[in-house]
């Protein structure tokens, strides 16, 4: 319930909550749980035109132990793919470029961030059928030499 009074009050205390480390939000899986299975991959295009498909760790593809300590990637990628978090994209592209630098004479030239998603559609009998997957390039970054230093 975001009334103007509550919004004003929140705006007033927000800087202090952040400053003191007391900021918080408790909307876990709410008001609606996510209704898409989504993940992010990157296409790394090298100077010579070769393309490499780089993947963020996907929890469902990891073993139980690795899934436990790599869960931060799930949270990060969940945030990364949201348009309102576009400020995160250049840093992510730069890091992917660095991670994929193999040959200094043939460095990564372009990094494209691609979102893949498939809707979760409830069925009356409770069964689940994966919907067709879709993809969208949501960010393209031209790698600069200083990014790889």
């Amino acid at each position: 319930m975001e009334t103007p009074l509550i919004a004003e009050f929140k705006g007033l205390i927000r800087p202090y909550m952040f400053w003191s480390g007391l900021f918080q939000g408790w909307d876990m899986f709410a008001p609606e749980p996510r209704s898409v299975n989504a993940y992010v991959e990157a296409a790394v295009i090298y100077k010579d035109g070769r393309i490499h498909n780089w993947k963020f760790p996907r929890m469902e593809q990891l073993g139980l132990t690795e899934r436990y300590y790599r869960e931060r990637y799930r949270k990060y990628v969940e945030n990364l793919q949201v348009d309102s978090n576009a400020a995160l994209w250049p840093d992510a592209a730069r890091r992917i470029a660095r991670l994929n630098e193999e040959d200094p004479s043939n460095p990564p030239a372009i990094v494209m961030l691609i979102r893949y998603w498939s809707d979760i559609v409830p069925r009356p009998d409770g069964s689940y059928r994966p919907e067709p997957s879709r993809a969208r390039i949501f960010f393209e970054y031209n790698v600069k030499p200083e990014d790889l230093k």
Partner: protein, 316 residues
């Protein structure tokens, strides 16, 4: 209720001295959980907090401008210093767990937690938030007044008697209230979403690939279980947020809460979250029951030691 009566209730609730056993027990669990969290972060520490992390410090400033309680902004910008924060945090968290220099170690541990949260706001979940806020209030609590190295040292030096003195519980109350807020607002937000109200919410969660841990039996994925499960979640979160303050309902609700979180721990991959929530339940346990549990544990440990070593020929 008159204003005077309200003020009396307020003072009694926040300031009437109580046994520090619950807060001391929570301090131990909190220290262990912080250590576990740091160790889980260690393999990717530099990916999150290094100079070339997924999010740079300058981007963090851009996204969330303003003054922050963030040690990463005051250290030299290189990976060695970033790693130093991990080791310093780990040592202070161990001190919190054993109750050594409790006040100071609580402050240092909170600073470390706040810093890693502030350094990368986009990789942390609600469990981290709860741990951080509980850590803030722990700073002001008499967390070293029992079950701590600090207390052993004080007793040895004759500064304290063998009996544990009661202390003002206001900081413990704040953590209890925070836990209630977590549940109540989790209920509140969910109650505003159609899937939780019409009972389809768990269907989405059951089929969200990235969040799964262990397989959920088919029976529990049927429409009727999905509906009942969604509504039970709402009912339980409301109860743990509001009804937990009624003494008669407290233990049944705590047991239901533990079962709820263990079920989530089985089904969902949200590391440490469930344990972080369960750890704070100890603050709602009656100190007399905690003492009883402690005596029972000591008696059992002694009995096991006697059975194991008592009849050993080498010791006879």
């Amino acid at each position: 209720m008159s204003l005077r009566a309200f003020a009396e209730c307020w003072n009694q609730f926040f300031f009437q001295p109580k046994s520090p056993l619950p807060i001391a027990s929570f301090r131990i669990l909190y220290g262990i959980l912080v250590i576990a969290n740091l160790l889980l972060l260690w393999p990717d520490w530099l990916a999150w907090f290094g100079v070339h992390a997924w999010m740079s410090l300058s981007t963090m400033y851009k996204v969330e401008p303003g003054i922050r309680l963030n040690l990463f902004t005051v250290i030299p910008q290189n990976d060695r210093w970033s790693e130093a924060i991990f080791w310093v945090g780990l040592i202070w968290a161990a001190f919190v767990a054993i109750g050594f220099l409790t006040r100071l170690s609580s402050i240092a541990t909170f600073l470390c937690l706040a810093s890693i949260n502030e350094r990368n706001l986009f990789a942390f979940h609600a469990g981290d938030t709860f741990l951080r806020i509980a850590g803030f209030f722990l700073i002001f609590a008499p967390a070293g007044a029992a079950l701590s190295v600090d207390r052993i040292l004080r007793v040895r030096k004759g500064r304290e008697g063998l009996e544990i003195a009661s202390r003002s519980p206001w900081a413990q109350r704040m953590i209890q209230l925070q836990l209630s807020f977590v549940y109540f607002f989790a209920f509140w937000w969910k109650s505003m979403g159609a899937p939780w109200v019409n009972g389809t919410a768990l269907y989405y969660l059951n089929h969200l690939d990235e969040i799964h841990r262990l397989p959920i039996p088919g029976l529990f994925q049927s429409p009727i279980f999905t509906k009942v499960g969604s509504w039970l979640t709402l009912a339980l979160e409301f109860s743990l947020g509001v009804l937990i303050w009624f003494k008669e309902l407290r233990y049944p609700l705590l047991i239901a809460g533990v079962l709820f979180h263990l079920t989530l721990e089985y089904a969902l991959n949200v590391p440490m979250f469930q344990w972080e929530m369960i750890s704070a339940y100890v603050l709602f346990v009656d100190p007399a029951d905690l003492e009883r549990a402690g005596r029972w544990t000591r008696a059992r440990t002694a009995a096991i030691s006697r059975i194991r070593f008592g009849a050993s020929p080498s010791r006879v």
